[in-house]
């Protein structure tokens, strides 16, 4: 039967806005960079020296900008410090606070490690291992914060959001690292390794994003409504153009074809830089589509 809402009351249509999108993006960059740096040092410190060093600084810088942004998003920012001692253990934001603090500390230790500081030299394994746990926490908590919303926000409550956010963090970190290395014009070997890793992650991400859309599209009528906002509604341009084509398909093609074309599998710095920029645009679009598009279906 024909039903139409003729009067309803304005509540916050989108409680989480652009600052949260930026916070999610930077958290992904910070967590992903630490793990990238740790993996590079762990596998072959000599061979992937540039990656290990660049990513270690990136992690720290990202946290440095990220935390003030999270605080600025509060409506009572002057009370932010109460998060440290009031902490309710059931709240994702509490875990997030501790993960961010932990990652901040470990990224400083990681930089000291890369500078060859004798004070931390003996504890490389502990710093990289424990730091990676905090880094993974930072990459994941943002998805859990959305996941915890009940199924009235079908995009947010989808469980696949957690691997999507983890992959997005890795993709952001690798793309930023290779962008910085490629600007230096050297390190082709590292660039091609970063490029093919990212190509793999991007393919995985494409599959997961399609799964997210398909599972919500085939769900309840409410869930379908939420998915169509992304596929053919307000978010469609950004989704198809920004995320799928610019952020996933073109970089996958660029990274894949250039590593196939040249026998030794070397990617030119120009291609690596271009692919990185496209990937970063795509990840930002993804974060925006999930955070903002996920709230667009009115609750009442």
């Amino acid at each position: 039967m024909n039903a139409i809402v003729t009067y309803n009351v304005p509540h916050m249509v989108e409680p989480w806005g652009m600052l949260i999108v930026v916070h999610f993006f930077l958290s992904g960059l910070a967590g992903g960079s630490f793990i990238t740096s740790a993996a590079a040092s762990f596998f072959n410190e000599e061979r992937y020296k540039k990656t290990a060093i660049v990513a270690s600084y990136l992690a720290f810088l990202a946290i440095l900008i990220d935390v003030p942004i999270l605080i600025a998003d509060l409506d009572r920012p002057e009370r932010f410090f109460t998060l440290l001692f009031r902490g309710s253990m059931t709240a994702p934001l509490t875990w997030g606070t501790w993960f961010l603090i932990g990652l901040g500390l470990f990224s400083v230790l990681n930089i000291m490690l890369k500078m060859g500081n004798p004070a931390v030299k003996g504890s490389k394994g502990i710093i990289l291992g424990l730091g990676s746990v905090f880094a993974l926490g930072v990459c994941t908590y943002t998805a859990v914060a959305l996941n915890i919303a009940t199924d009235v926000r079908p995009i947010w409550s989808n469980g696949i959001l957690i691997p999507i956010f983890i992959a997005a963090s890795g993709i952001t970190a690798i793309a930023t690292t290779s962008l910085i290395i490629s600007l230096g014009g050297e390190g082709k070997e590292e660039l091609s390794c970063l490029g093919s890793t990212n190509a793999g992650l991007l393919i995985l991400q494409l599959i997961m994003v399609i799964s997210l859309i398909l599972t919500t599209l085939t769900g309840t009528p409410m869930s379908r409504q939420a998915a169509t906002i992304i596929t053919s509604g307000d978010m469609a341009m950004l989704f198809w153009g920004g995320l799928i084509v610019v952020g996933l398909l073109i970089p996958i093609f660029l990274l894949w074809s250039s590593s196939m074309a040249k026998k030794e599998g070397r990617i030119s710095p120009g291609i690596a830089a271009l692919a990185s920029v496209l990937v970063l645009i795509g990840v930002f679009a993804l974060r925006y589509i999930i955070v903002s598009g996920g709230q667009m279906l009115p609750l009442t």
Binding site: M1, V5, P92
Partner: protein, 223 residues
């Protein structure tokens, strides 16, 4: 105040262990007059532009067979409230009598609770800059008075009382009439019950002329 005064809760003090406050809204009696919204606004000094209690209108049918349905809304004071679980500062808390409240001095305005509440009961109060919502008028209830919206309801569609007491008016009313909670699938277990609830009225969201829709348009323009 006499014991059988209809504005009196029966002398049960709030926060008592054995009391569980709840509300029934009999939609057969609601005429969509917004008295509840106005009573709530004046009692609780709710700022302009935000509402702790409001009435949703949903028109159903095709001319000449059309009906306007009313759905009075407020915080459901859920038994297992998601808003409480996600609050990082414990500003949102639950009293023993079931009322879910916000401590204005603790709230940092992170809006986690607003995203987690499936019933859209919460908002940021533009004056205090903290999360805000219906309090079940505990300041009145603790003194033995019924909530302001219940007192102001001209159709007497609202009944407030102790769900744990089988002899309270609300328990007797619930025993006699089949009642529903809003979207029980969320698992939050609301303490607000509706009689005569048409699910399609509840499920119908937004709508072209809804204020929420207009607000979204305005936001898009601002960007």
């Amino acid at each position: 105040m006499k014991k059988n005064d209809e504005y009196y809760t029966g002398g049960k003090k709030g926060a008592g262990k054995n009391v569980r406050w709840g509300m029934v809204i009999d939609l057969r009696r609601c005429i969509g007059c917004h008295s509840c919204s106005i009573h709530c606004k004046t009692e609780n000094e709710v700022p302009v532009g935000v509402y702790r209690a409001w009435v949703k209108y949903v028109d159903k049918g095709t001319y000449p067979d059309v009906r306007r349905n009313f759905l009075p809304r407020l915080c459901n004071h859920c038994e297992h409230p998601m808003c409480y679980r996600v609050c990082p500062t414990k500003a949102t808390y639950k009293r023993d009598d079931g009322a879910v409240l916000i401590d204005n001095d603790k709230c940092i305005g992170c809006r986690s609770c607003i995203t987690a509440c499936p019933y859209d009961a919460r908002f940021i109060n533009p004056v205090t800059k903290t999360a805000d919502k219906c309090t079940f008028c505990v300041h009145r209830v603790d003194k033995g008075l019924i909530p302001s919206c219940v007192q102001g309801c001209i159709g007497r569609a609202r009944i407030f009382g102790d769900l744990n007491d089988p002899n309270s008016e609300i328990s007797r009313y619930l025993a006699k009439n089949p009642a529903k909670q809003l979207n029980p699938a969320t698992g939050n277990e609301p303490s607000v019950f509706y009689i005569g609830l048409d699910e399609s009225v509840e499920e119908e969201r937004g709508g072209v002329t809804s204020v929420a829709g207009t607000q979204r348009e305005a936001r898009k323009e601002a960007i």
